[in-house]
C-alpha cells in the first residue's frame, strides 16, 4: 500500500552541475543549474539525493551558499568517513546530475526587513549560510551593520577567504584561528570566548540579531555566551551541523 503514502509536497528536481570550485583542501563549492528553482532566502538549505548505479541512494542537507538571484550553489566539506561528501567534493564533474529539493527552512533566514545589527558567528563550514546572508545583504543594498566572527582551525581552512577579506565599511569580518596562526597573525586566536565577544558583539541594547552556525558544541557554547550577554533567546538563531 505504498501508493497511499503521504504524498510529498516538496518535489525532487534534477540539478546539473555547472561548476565545481575548490575552496580549501577539503572543501568545494558546487554550482548547480536548476531550471525550476523558485528562489530562496539567505540561510535556507536544500536536500541532495545521490543514487548509485546499483540503486542505493543517500540524502544529505546542505546550506545554500549563494544569494537569491545568483546561481544556486552549495559548499561541501569532505568528511573522510563520509558516504556522500567524498563523492560531491572529489568525483563530481560539470555536467553530472543529482536530485535536489528545496529551498528548505524559514527559521535560520535573514532578509533586509529583519533588520539588525547582524552578528554572524561561524564555526568551520558553518560559514556557508552566513556567507549567503552577507551576499544577500550586499546585493539588496541593505545598510544594516554586520559583523562576522569566523572560527577556523587555521588560515588555510578559511573558506571564501578572498571574498570575505573584501568586506569593508559597515560589514566587518574577523577571524579566530583555533589550532595554528601564521607568523605575525593580527586576528584572534583560540576558541570563541567572552573576551572575544566583548570586542565583537553588539551591545544587547542595540537589539542585535545573531546567527550562529557550526558544529553542535560550538553553537551551544556561543549561544550561551550571547544569552549571558543579555541577547534574548528569540534573537539568537542557531543551526547545528555534523557529519550525519
Amino acid at each position: 500500500m505504498a501508493g497511499t503514502a503521504v504524498r510529498g509536497r516538496l518535489s525532487w528536481q534534477v540539478a546539473t552541475v555547472a561548476a565545481v570550485t575548490e575552496e580549501t583542501g577539503s572543501v568545494s563549492t558546487i554550482v548547480l543549474d536548476l531550471p525550476d528553482w523558485p528562489g530562496h532566502q539567505a540561510g535556507q538549505h536544500l536536500d541532495v539525493r545521490v543514487t548509485a548505479e546499483d540503486g542505493y541512494s543517500a540524502e544529505r542537507s546542505y546550506s545554500i551558499a549563494s544569494a537569491d538571484g545568483e546561481p544556486v550553489a552549495i559548499t561541501v566539506e569532505r568528511l573522510e568517513d563520509g558516504e556522500v561528501s567524498p563523492y560531491l567534493t572529489q568525483e563530481l564533474r560539470p555536467g553530472d546530475q543529482m536530485e535536489v529539493r528545496g529551498p528548505i527552512g524559514n527559521w535560520f533566514t535573514w532578509g533586509p526587513h529583519d533588520g539588525g545589527p547582524l552578528l554572524l558567528i561561524a564555526g568551520g563550514s558553518g560559514v556557508v549560510p552566513l556567507r549567503a546572508i552577507l551576499r544577500h545583504r550586499q546585493r539588496s543594498g541593505s545598510t544594516v551593520p554586520a559583523r562576522l566572527l569566523y572560527s577556523s582551525r587555521s588560515i588555510q581552512d578559511v573558506i571564501y577567504r578572498n571574498e570575505l577579506n573584501q568586506y569593508r565599511g559597515n560589514a566587518e569580518v574577523r577571524y579566530t584561528l583555533t589550532r595554528s596562526q601564521p607568523p605575525g597573525w593580527g586576528g584572534f586566536a583560540g576558541r570563541v570566548d567572552d573576551a572575544m565577544l566583548a570586542r565583537i558583539a553588539w551591545p544587547a541594547g542595540q537589539r542585535p540579531l545573531a546567527f550562529i552556525c557550526g558544529p553542535t558544541p560550538f553553537v551551544e557554547a556561543v549561544a550561551e555566551l550571547l544569552v549571558a550577554r543579555h541577547y534574548p533567546e528569540s534573537r539568537v538563531k542557531t543551526e547545528r551541523f555534523g557529519g550525519a
Binding site: 500500500m1 505504498a2 497511499t4 503514502a5 503521504v6 510529498g8 509536497r9 516538496l10 538549505h45 536544500l46 536536500d47 540524502e59 542537507s61 529539493r101 528545496g102 528548505i104 527552512g105 524559514n106 527559521w107 535560520f108 553542535t216 528569540s234 538563531k237 542557531t238 543551526e239 547545528r240 551541523f241 555534523g242 557529519g243 550525519a244
Partner: protein, 85 residues
Amino acid sequence: MALDGNAIGGLLLEIFGSDMTSAEATCATCGAVRPVADTMVYLRGPGTVVRCCNCASVLIVVTRVRGLSCVDLSGIAALEVNPRR
C-alpha cells in the same frame, strides 16, 4: 551527535506541507515552547528522533517504511505553525 530541527526541514515539509522549522512546539513533558529549529535531532537511528532541547524528552519520531512516513507526535502538546514573534 545531535543536530537540530533545521536538519529535518525537508522531511517535515514533506510530511506537513509547510515549513515547520519556525513552528513552535510545546513539549508535552516539560511544557517548554521552542521553535522546531531548536530541537535536538538524531538521524542515525532506525528512524528520526526529535527531542526537547529543554528536558530531552522525545517529541517526534518519524519512521519510513516503503515510502510511507509514520509520524509519532505524542511527545508534543501543541504545534503552532505561524507563531507571532
